[in-house]
């Protein structure tokens, strides 16, 4: 497929990235060429091939339902760009 700037805009919205008009142009061109590269896979017959999401055939890793010491309140908030000592703070979630 040929990527358009509209396609790229839509993806940017999903990915929560902002681009200037110029950047958008450049990304559309670059992504277009990368998509061309990956579309080579279209040549491969994958009928009936089970997708491989994990590199190794392993399964079932469980832990016991046991408490484990977490982070102190201070440590939890320490890297936060904005907090009030209790909560993480963000610009208002609700807009009216």
């Amino acid at each position: 497929m040929k990527l358009t700037t509209d396609d790229v805009k839509k993806v940017a919205e999903l990915a929560k990235l902002e681009f200037t008009a110029q950047e958008l142009e450049r990304f559309t061109d670059q992504l277009g060429r990368i998509v061309e590269l990956v579309e080579q896979l279209g040549e491969v017959d994958t009928t009936g091939v089970e997708p491989m999401a994990h590199p190794l055939d392993v399964h079932t890793a469980l832990r016991d339902d046991q408490l484990r010491t977490g982070l102190t309140h201070q440590a939890a908030l320490a890297n936060s760009p904005k907090h009030d000592g209790e909560f993480f703070l963000v610009p208002p979630v609700l807009t009216r």
Binding site: D7, V8, V11, A12, L14, A15, K16, L17, E18, F19, F27, Q30, L31, R33, I34, V35, L37, V38, E39, Q40, L41, G42, E43, V44, T46, V49, E50, P51, M52, A53, H54, P55, L56, V58, A61, R63, L71, A75, A76, A78, N79, S80, P81, K82, F88, V90, P91, P92, V93, T95
Partner: protein, 495 residues
């Protein structure tokens, strides 16, 4: 004494014998970093005080009789700045995490600490490990100690450069599509990507979770073996880490290679894109192996040509999800949107991400988001997972005939800084020979193979079935013994 040319295990035995203290060794390398790293740019951060404090502590504990079973106690090591260490900045070479101080330590690093190793500092990388030249680092430019105009490779470019400039005796990197092996090849060191799940990923800041793996870089095969022994093993904090006993890698190094079946990957060795000197290096390696009694067999990995497109769908898709956590809310960079935007929250998230990530990271997030989005999932992401299985099957088939595979690491030796950074497709095609091992989850080892006419390092790659790291190390050690390669610093750092 020139400590930078000694094997790390030798340094450790000197320290254990009190011929040298850990503090002296640490001071030695810190002083080299202080003097020389301005020309290399290998480190993002060096905490001299913490390193020396740590060295003193290890010295005291060595005197008290601790670490008696630890082959690397007291030895300094460089850590790629993508592995978390409590309290020390872990940046991923990104503006996004410039001020991030993790409240916990990666399992692999913790194991090194538990074994008495001394972290010198954190090495540079491509931003979030996305790249093959360390040029996408937002914080530092690293050059190749063999030629300052050339890239050290990437993403573990800082680790390989630090080693080849003699700034550390050992380094820890991570490999998602060749990020340990390719910079090792460009900088003339050894670099091992272990089997997926052999080393815990806990505390390794994720790029592509089904491909990422922690691996050591070193000059000497014994060092690689000793270091892998320390970091390998099951971790209950990582569901994907393998619960399989760890062999004593050092004890298998001396095995003779007589009867070893070595597969020559025809699609790779005969590839048109491959540099003549690299093809020659591969041939020379075949001859040496043959002289050591190994049997050389032609093998085919028919889906090799699809490994780059497959990788560049799977890795960005996983990355797009892994990097969604960087939203300016709980940690990392926050930037506010324009005043009066209809949703200040969404504007904050988008602005933080747009200012926090560099272009290569954005490119991959965009590509991955696209490949996973409604209407494209089957044609792109799912298709890539299917071809991945075919690639893995090729390997499986090959390993019914041979014990290890031989091929190149890269099509060319180190390229010039800026040479490919304008063209992402060209850059991605560099990964042709390395991404297969990540897709299939098998181990791969980059072994130095002398230099080309311009004096740039060359390398060959060995790959083995899952969990057969011991075989890879055995082969490399025998090649070192046979002087197929000699551990060497970059010439201008060897005086």
């Amino acid at each position: 004494m020139k400590l930078e040319v000694l094997p790390a295990v030798t340094l450790a035995s000197m320290i254990a014998a009190r011929e040298l203290t850990s503090r002296e060794a640490t001071e030695y390398f810190l002083s080299r970093i202080r003097r020389l790293d301005t020309n290399v740019g290998a480190f993002i951060s060096v905490d001299e005080e913490a390193a020396l404090r740590r060295a003193d502590e290890v010295d005291a504990r060595l005197v008290a009789g601790e670490f008696s079973n630890s082959p690397l106690a007291g030895v300094p090591i460089a850590i790629k700045d993508i592995l978390c260490m409590t309290g020390s900045a872990t940046t991923c070479a990104s503006r996004m995490l410039e001020d991030f101080r993790p409240p916990y330590t990666a399992t692999a690093v913790q194991k090194l600490l538990d074994a008495g190793m001394v972290p010198l500092g954190k090495t540079n990388l491509d931003e979030f490990a996305m790249g093959g030249s360390t040029e996408s680092s937002a914080l530092r430019r690293t050059c190749n100690p063999w030629d300052p105009e050339r890239t050290p490779g990437g993403s573990s470019g800082g680790a390989a450069a630090a080693l080849s400039a003699g700034l550390t005796p050992l380094a820890i990197g991570t490999d998602t599509g060749g990020s340990v092996r390719q910079p090792a090849a460009f900088c003339g060191t050894l670099g091992l990507k272990p089997t997926y799940g052999r080393v815990s990923r806990y505390g390794l800041i994720a790029f592509a979770s089904s491909l990422d793996q922690v691996g050591p870089l070193a000059h000497h095969v014994q060092d690689l073996a000793a270091c892998l022994n320390l970091i390998a093993g099951h971790d209950r904090l990582d569901s994907t880490s393998l619960d399989v006993p760890v062999p004593d890698y050092a004890s298998e190094l001396a095995q003779p290679l007589a009867g070893l079946r070595v597969g020559l990957i025809r699609e790779q060795i005969d590839n048109d894109s491959i540099d003549a000197a690299i093809r020659d290096a591969t041939l020379r390696c075949q001859q040496t192996l043959s002289g050591l009694g190994a049997e050389l067999i032609d093998v085919h990995l028919p889906h090799t040509q699809y490994s780059v497109p497959t990788y560049y769908l799977i890795a960005p898709s996983e990355a797009s999800g892994n990097l969604e956590r960087y939203d300016g809310v709980h940690y990392g960079k926050r930037s506010y949107g324009d005043a009066g935007s209809p949703s200040p929250l969404e504007a904050m998230i988008a602005r933080s991400r747009s200012e926090g990530f560099g272009p290569e990271v954005k490119r991959r997030i965009m590509l991955g988001t696209f490949a996973l989005s409604a209407g494209y999932y089957d044609a792109y992401y799912k298709k890539a997972l299917q071809v991945r299985r075919l690639i893995a099957n090729d390997y499986q088939q090959a390993f019914t005939q041979v014990d290890v595979l031989l091929g190149p690491v890269t099509p060319t030796p180190a390229f010039k800084l800026g040479e490919k950074s304008g063209d992402p497709v060209q850059m991605y095609l560099e990964d042709l020979f390395t991404v297969g091992a990540n897709l299939a989850g098998i181990p791969g080892l980059s072994v130095p193979a002398g230099c080309n006419a311009q004096g740039l390092p060359l390398a060959v790659q060995f790959q083995a079935p899952a969990l057969a790291e011991a075989k890879l190390l055995n082969v490399a050690h025998q090649l070192q013994q046979a002087e197929f390669f000699k551990p060497a610093l970059a010439p201008s750092f060897a005086h």
